[in-house]
Structures are given as C-alpha cells and as structure tokens.
Amino acid sequence: MSNVSLVLNGRSVSAEVEDRTLLVHFIRENQGLTGTHVGCDTSQCGACVVHVDGKAVKSCSMLAVQASGSEVVTIEGLSDGADLHPVQAAFREHHGLQCGFCTPGMIMAATDMIRRHPEGLDEKTVRAELEGNICRCTGYHNIVKAILAASEAMAKGGKGAAKAA
C-alpha cells in the first residue's frame, strides 16, 4: 500500500491504495469520478485521457502512485463552475459525440491539442493528433469539426476564452 496525495480538479485528495492501482481506477473507484472511462487493455483507445501536470496522459497506463504529488484534471474538472469549456461547447454544437463513451477522453485530448497548437489547427493535423483516441460512433467527422471550431473560438477569445465560454 502507498499513500497517494494529489490535487484532483483543484482539490487536494489523499488515500492509501494498493501500489498496483492504476490512476484511472483511483479516479473512478477511489474518488468516484466516473467520467474517465476504460475502453481497452492496450493503452490505445484514449477513453481514459486526463491531464497530469497540464499534459494529456492515458490514466490507464500510469499507476496512481506515480501521479502522487501531481495535479490531475479530469473531464469533471475541465470547466469552471456551471459553464462549459469551449471544447465541451463545440462538441455539443457540432455533434461531436454520440454514445458519449469516448467523449471525455476526446475532449481532454482536444483541449491538450489546442494548447499545444497556439498557432491554430488544420484538419490534417487534428486527424493526426487524434492517433491516441478511438471513436466508433462518429466516424470522427464531427469531432474534427468541433476541435477546429473550438481552436478558432479559443484563439479569438484569447486566454480568457476557457473561462468566459
């Protein structure tokens, strides 16, 4: 057993868990935040993507204890309060989701992608950058559209866009 202490969606949390506990299970089962999903066993589908210290990672491929001392943001913590993050809003507006299972990972991947490309995105880049996220419902068409739209909206809105949306 190890102590895992981290900041989860802005709140300090601490728990004793088995060392073999994956970060995704810590988030889902220990902390009860079930928005982060598990869709495969081989670290490929990306349904489990969260941000650790500001970077998108697959929470199924990391022990919870590896993240001890880090800041973790999940889909539940992406937006401030009742407002939607611009990426969340774009996914809704552009019908970038159907069954919703891959969606939290997609949105967390998309926000990270937009952060890494302040110069803006094009369709080819978005598709290449979605290498680590699998969706079976949408054919990606509207996911790509949503990410491009969110990227533009956030560029226009400047730094405050995330909070203002």
């Binding site: 999903h37 598990v38 495969c40 066993d41 969606t103 054919g139 990606y140």
Partner: protein, 782 residues
C-alpha cells in the same frame, strides 16, 4: 417546424451529461456490498472438460465463491437460445445446439465461459481465476465455414450433423436457372464478406443484484433492448419471473448490434448474486470483448447474375455459406436469411432470383447481427457483381445500374419485399454530381503523373428497416413481435414524459423524440423528458436495432400523442365552451380556430388533474399509451461514391473523397442523421480497408486487441460529403425510413469498387489492407 421541431438541427439534450463526465454507464454503477466477477474462459477452440478444480481458488484472498456450470445447471438456469426459427428446405427445423451460460461438458470456442469467480476486488477475482484448474481433452477444431461442411469435419454439436444448422432457400430456383441459361451474358463471381468485431467503445458489462427480502433481482446491463432481455431471461433462462426481475440499461456506450443479445455473463451475474448473496458486477476487458462479443458478417457466396442482350438483369442465383460460430446467438438465424436474401433484388428490377443459404457451426465466437445485419452482405454481393458486370459488358457502371433501376412503386420483388417508395436515380444523380464524377478521368491522369493509382467506385444500396409487421415476422419464424410501445404522460404543470420501448445508445432519442412532441404541442424540448431503458418504468418494448427507433418507435409515440391530443382538445373545448373540432394547438396554446379564445397548455393540463371542471364522464388525468405495429418494412436507399488514391509502392489506400446521397424519407434532426451516416460510413470503410477478425488454424483469435484488430482512426478517414433526398415513406405516420445502418451497408462495395478500378482488378479481398493492396498492385503490374 419550429426552432426545436421536426426538421430542426437541434443540439442534443443528452450531450450535457456526456461532455461533463456525468454519463452513467453500467461500470459506473455502485451498489453497497458489490463484488466483482471474473470469468475463466476456454483457452481451446474445441475440447472436452474432464474436470474442474476450484478448491485452490476458493481459498484465495477476498474470494466469495467460485461457481461452475454444473452448479448453474443444478439451479435450473436454462440454455441460451436463438429466438428465430428457420426451417430447412426439407422442412426440418434448424439444429440448435445447447449453449450453457457456463460450459459443462465441452467448450466450443476460445473464450467460452467455464467458471465464474466472485471476489471483493476485480484484481482478487482475477488472481483466483488463475488458480482455477480445468482439465481439458483437446478435440480437433474447424474455423472456416466452408471447411465445417466437409465430410469428416470435427462435429461441434451432436444436434447438427456435419455442423449444418439449416439449408434454406428463397425465390424460384427454376426461374433463376432458366434466366441464366437464356442469358446473353452471365457474370459469375465468388463474394467473401469478412468477419468483423463490432467494438462498441464501452465494453459489455453486467451487474446482478438479488434482494433476498423481496426475492427480486435487478440487472444492470449494457443492452440495446432491456425488455427483450427481461423476457428471455425470465421465460427461457429461469433467472427470475418477469415481475421479480428488473432490467436496466442505463447509458450504453454504443451497440451496433452486439448489445442486442442476452449473453452468458448477465445471466451468470444474476444467478451468482442469488447464489452468493452479494451484488455481482462484471465488466469485460477489451480482449474479452473481442473473444466473446457476437461477431458480424462472415459469408462466402457464389453468384451468377444473368443479363439479356440489352444489359437488363434477367436473373440472379446466389449460393451462400454463413458462419454462425460455436453457438446460435439470439437472432443469428434471421441475419443470413430474412435480413439478407430478401434484399438481393437491390434497387433493380430482377424478375427471377433464387438464393440458397447454408449456416454452419464453427469453433469461433458466435456470429449475429452487426450494423446492417445481412443487408451489408446482400449489398456487397450485388454491388460488387454489378460493378464486375459493367466492366465485363464494357458499359458505364452508373448506366448499367440506371438501366436496371426499379422506377415504379409499389414494387414486388421475387424475394418477399414490397418496396413502397423510392427514387434511385435521384440519389445516383446527386452522388455523381457531388463527386464530380465527370471530372474523374482528369483526376486519374494527374494522379497517374505522380505515380499514384486513382480509382472511383459506386454502390447503390437498398435496405429494409423497421422490420415488421409482427404477424408477418411471426410467420417467418420470429419468436417476438416487432412493434413498439409508447406512453405519453402529461404532468399537471403541462410538462411531458415520454416513455419508450426504444433504447438510445448514441442515437439521440432524448432529443429527436422531444422534437416530435415540440412539433405537436409547441412545448420547448426542455419540458419534454424521454424515459427509456428500465423495465420498471417502461412496461414493454422491443428496443433499438435495425434502424427501427424512428420508423417504429416514434410512430408509437405519434399514436400516443394522437390520443393525448384528442383528450386535450376535449378538455380545452369544455373549458372554452367551444366545439372540440374547432380546437387547434399552436405554440403551446389550445385555441378556438378563428377566434382569440384560448387556454394555455399548462392550464389545460392542470384542469385534467384538478378534475374540477371536466367534460361529463371524463376520467381525470392525461396519460396515454400506444402500441404501434408497422404495416411494412421501410426502404431507405441511396448511392455512395468513393474515390481512392493508391500508392503502389506501399499499398496504402487513401480515400480522397467519399460521397453519400441517401433517401431516408422525412428527417427529424438532420444533424443527428448526418452523424449516423458518418459513423456508418466509417464502419463500412473499416470493413473494406482495415478490419477483419482473424483466427489461426487452431481457433486462436489473432486479432484480439487493438494491437492487431485495425480500428478506423481519424487519420484513416476523410471528411464525408453527405446529402439526403426525400421520398416519404407511405407506411408510417411520420414518413420516416431509418438511417442508422445505411452508411455501413452502402460503403464497403463503393470502396472495393474504387480500389479494383484503380488497380484494374476484378476483385480484392476485404480488408484491402496495405499488404493486400500492395500484393495486388504488384501482381496487376505484369
């Protein structure tokens, strides 16, 4: 249409919870005292079980119990069944082999469930599962359907001689034979439809909770049709009587057919909960899903298409062998028969058709409906054959199709179906225009100048949705009716709940069904809630598959809304002292036509519940129920065009454009319909280019994870150009046809027609992976 009514591009109501991580899937459910199940599965494709020793596993930390098939049988749990009876042409019923939820004497495919371990944590259950000792005697196995029929093939079920489940036919053999004999040209081709794994992103899961005090079981399950699950688990599997069994399918992360069926795991979780006294949850790993979810397709067919001297089709002969895997899954028998061979007329006037279908057992995962279910197989067969025929006849593929289109409706085909409406030329024209078909030769030339091979291919598909009517499917062998139910509850404040037997697992019913109510009564969709997926809330329903929720599910809602409207108008007429025939409903208000007299919707509703002032003899309240049984199938149709560019050095195929022109009849929400088409096309392109379940000769699944099964990713696909035309369906009140499966049905032949066009080849196997295309490109080079 209002801004939220029928035809409006409304953002989905359900999205809020999915984009904020508040969706509730089975794996998210927690019940106090809940324990975790792990299944011990067969590592062999075919083996006798000689002994099972669970003693070591039972002593492992955290283990509650370890249960076997013998115990399950002793408790009277029934075998899993196939719910659609097919008779062979000699009149004998299909040969259904016994499928115990936990294998007792024999295992028949890698992944067959043998033992279940229940423990405090999933990790402990898995530790203990490794300590279960099962002694097997391996038997020879057979993987390919064609091999299973050969003399001396390993016998998988005692009930089915030589693994033949049924040998069925449809159409007129003599007429088809004569057409082939009389033909000016016959195109002969062998068509192989590759085996696929549906791969909904949410793995299957079940949580069984037996309440000793009430002698009542609740089962949360990843199901597309919780009511059918309850019916079957109660009537056939002896899990519990219906009144003591509640099945809940909460948010479900995609289905594509694979979550229609009742699998061993949910039956075992319910039984194990009763047996152990604790709630038992099981969640599949992805590899477990690959091994044990029902697979799709897997047909091999010999085709002869006969043409007269004017290139008109005069006959079609088809001989198909369909692999149903190790056991007959719930609807496995109807897929390669009534969902397949009845569509072999396609969009064409074919006077004589005969199809023979043999289904066989093999030592592979059960095969059942996967998005399209039979119709993709029929479409692939026809549209590949048409393309090959056009090339053999030296005519344009588009014109050969156009010449043979059915243009008069209704049209009775020789294979049961009666097409009610359509305009196939309109879709073909729309697709050709959108694809700039005429400009293709120039594009091919400029690609050729870069050393790339460019090809174009089309596919004109038809499908039958909203499978119906109940009496007809009953006469064809269906064990259930295929109607739908709806209940519309108007609350005292006027807000509305619609209870439906349809189940949404990505289709957006919470939005589209509310849009229908908005169109009728003018209530904002926020004031309309859609309730589904819980047998305690909705009495009975048939669920969502076969693109039936619009054409059938919404029709049932229309019927219930009609009744609500009639009563509402009576109440309003009474309140306004007017004739009920003069009452109209506009923008949430009941008005006396031509006057300014009106009563707002909520006041009428309140009046229904206060019951202070109702027409004499009227019951209080405003709630209506309806069951809708369709009079016919619906027939969505369309034309897809795919253009590819192949790099002959690597075999990489890039889809440079993909055009879909569909006729879905009337549409409730174009945005959602487009989304359905996009997803279907992606799965169809997946089948054509990327996906294929591969077993080795010993029955090990080589493609059992995303390391080896190629899921379409964003970089594999282009953006799609989709459009719709509309010949309303005359058979249902909303004129809807269904849109859920079209993409997966229409796209594979378009892709393969494009690739074979680029390569100058007659055929290429699906999936046309880079290796396959490279080999073909280099053998075609001469």
């Amino acid at each position: 249409m209002g801004i939220e009514g029928i035809g409006a591009r409304v953002a989905r109501k359900e999205d809020k919870r999915f984009i904020t991580g508040s969706g509730r899937y089975v794996d998210d459910m927690v019940v106090p005292g809940m324990k975790h199940a792990v299944f011990v599965r067969s590592p062999h494709a075919h083996a006798e079980i000689l002994s099972i020793d669970v003693s070591a596993a039972k002593k492992m930390p955290g283990v509650i119990d370890v249960l076997t098939g013998k115990q399950l049988k002793a408790d009277g749990i029934g075998n899993l069944i196939c719910g659609w009876m097919i008779h062979s042409k000699d009149g004998t019923p299909m040969k259904m082999g016994a499928w115990s939820p936990l294998a007792v004497d024999k295992v028949r495919y890698v992944g067959d469930a043998v033992v279940v371990v229940v423990a405090d944590t999933k990790g402990q259950a898995r530790d203990a599962a490794e300590a279960v000792s099962v002694e097997y005697r391996e038997l020879p196995s057979v993987i390919q359907a064609v091999d299973a029929l050969k003399a001396g093939a390993p016998q998988i079920h005692a009930e089915a001689d030589n693994n033949l489940i049924f040998d069925w036919e449809i159409g007129d053999a003599k007429a088809a034979d004569e057409a082939v004999k009389a033909a000016a040209h016959v195109t002969k081709i062998r068509i192989v439809n590759n085996r696929l794994v549906p791969n909904a992103m949410e793995p299957r899961a079940a949580l069984g909770h037996y309440d000793r005090g009430d002698d009542h079981t609740t089962c949360w399950t990843t199901s597309q049709n919780p009511h059918v699950a309850r019916l079957v688990m109660s009537a056939f599997y002896n899990v519990a009587p219906e009144n003591k069994l509640r099945v809940i399918a909460p948010d479900v992360g995609g289905g594509f057919g694979s979550k229609i069926y009742i699998y061993p795991e949910e039956v075992v979780c319910c039984w194990a909960s009763k047996k152990t006294g604790v709630p038992v949850k099981w969640v599949a790993d992805r590899t477990e899903s690959f091994l044990s979810d029902a697979h799709g397709r897997d047909h091999v067919s010999e085709v002869e298409m006969a043409f007269d001297k004017d290139n008109r089709i005069i006959g079609l002969k088809v001989d198909t062998i369909a692999n149903l895997g190790a056991y007959m899954s719930l609807f496995s028998s109807c897929v390669p028969t009534y969902l397949y061979a009845t569509l072999l007329s396609g969009q064409y006037n074919i006077p004589a058709i005969h199809a023979n279908v043999r289904t066989v057992y093999t030592n592979t995962a059960p095969v059942d409906a996967y998005r399209g279910a039979g119709r993709p197989e029929a479409t692939y067969l026809l549209e590949r054959t048409m393309e090959v025929a056009a090339r053999e006849l030296g005519v344009s593929p588009a014109e050969l199709r156009r010449k043979n289109f059915i243009t008069q409706f209704p049209h009775q085909t020789p294979v049961i179906m009666n097409y009610d409406a359509g305009d196939y030329a309109a879709s073909l024209d729309a697709a050709m225009k959108a694809a700039d078909y005429a400009g293709f030769p120039a594009r091919r030339d400029s690609a050729g100048a870069k050393g790339m091979l460019r090809g174009i291919g089309m596919s004109c598909y038809i499908e039958a949705c909203g499978i119906a009517p109940s009496a007809a499917v009953g006469s064809l062998g269906a064990g259930v009716g295929l109607w739908e139910s709806a209940e519309v509850r108007v609350n005292a404040v006027g807000t509305i709940e619609v209870l439906t037997g349809s189940h949404s697992h990505g289709q957006g019913h919470e939005t589209t069904f509310a849009q229908l109510v908005n169109s009728r009564f003018g209530l904002p969709i926020d004031q309309v809630s859609i309730v589904h997926g819980d047998t305690d809330k909705v009495q009975m329903g048939m669920g969502t598959y076969g693109s039936r929720s619009g054409a059938v599910g919404m029709s049932a809602i229309v019927k219930a809304l009609d009744k609500v409207e009639a009563k509402a108008k009576k109440i309003a007429a009474h309140l306004l002292e007017a004739d009920e025939g003069d009452i109209v409903i506009e923008d949430g208000t009941l008005k006396v036509a031509g006057t300014d007299k009106n009563v707002p919707w909520f006041q009428m509703a309140l009046a229904a519940y206060t019951a202070h002032n109702l027409p004499s003899g009227m019951e209080p309240g405003l709630k209506e129920t309806a069951f809708y049984d369709p009079s016919n199938f619906t027939f969505p149709a369309g034309c897809y065009i795919c253009e590819v560019e192949i790099d002959p050095d690597t075999g990489i195929t890039e889809i440079v454009q993909f055009v879909a022109a569909d006729d879905f009849g009337n549409i409730i929400n174009p945005m959602i319909v487009e989304g359905q088409v996009h997803g279907g096309i992606a799965q169809g392109i997946g089948q054509a280019l990327l996906e294929g379940a591969v077993y080795d000769d010993t029955g090990q699944l080589l493609t059992a994870s995303y390391m080896d099964y190629t899921m379409p990713r964003a970089s594999d696909l282009p953006s799609f150009q989709v459009s719709t035309s509309n010949t309303p369906c005359p058979g249902n009140p909303l004129g809807m046809k269904g849109c859920g499966e079209a993409g997966a049905i229409g796209s594979p032949p378009a892709v393969i027609n494009a690739i074979t066009d680029a390569l100058g080849l007659r055929d290429i196997a699906m999936p046309a992976s880079p290796q396959t295309v490279w080999k073909a490109a280099n053998s075609a080079k001469h």
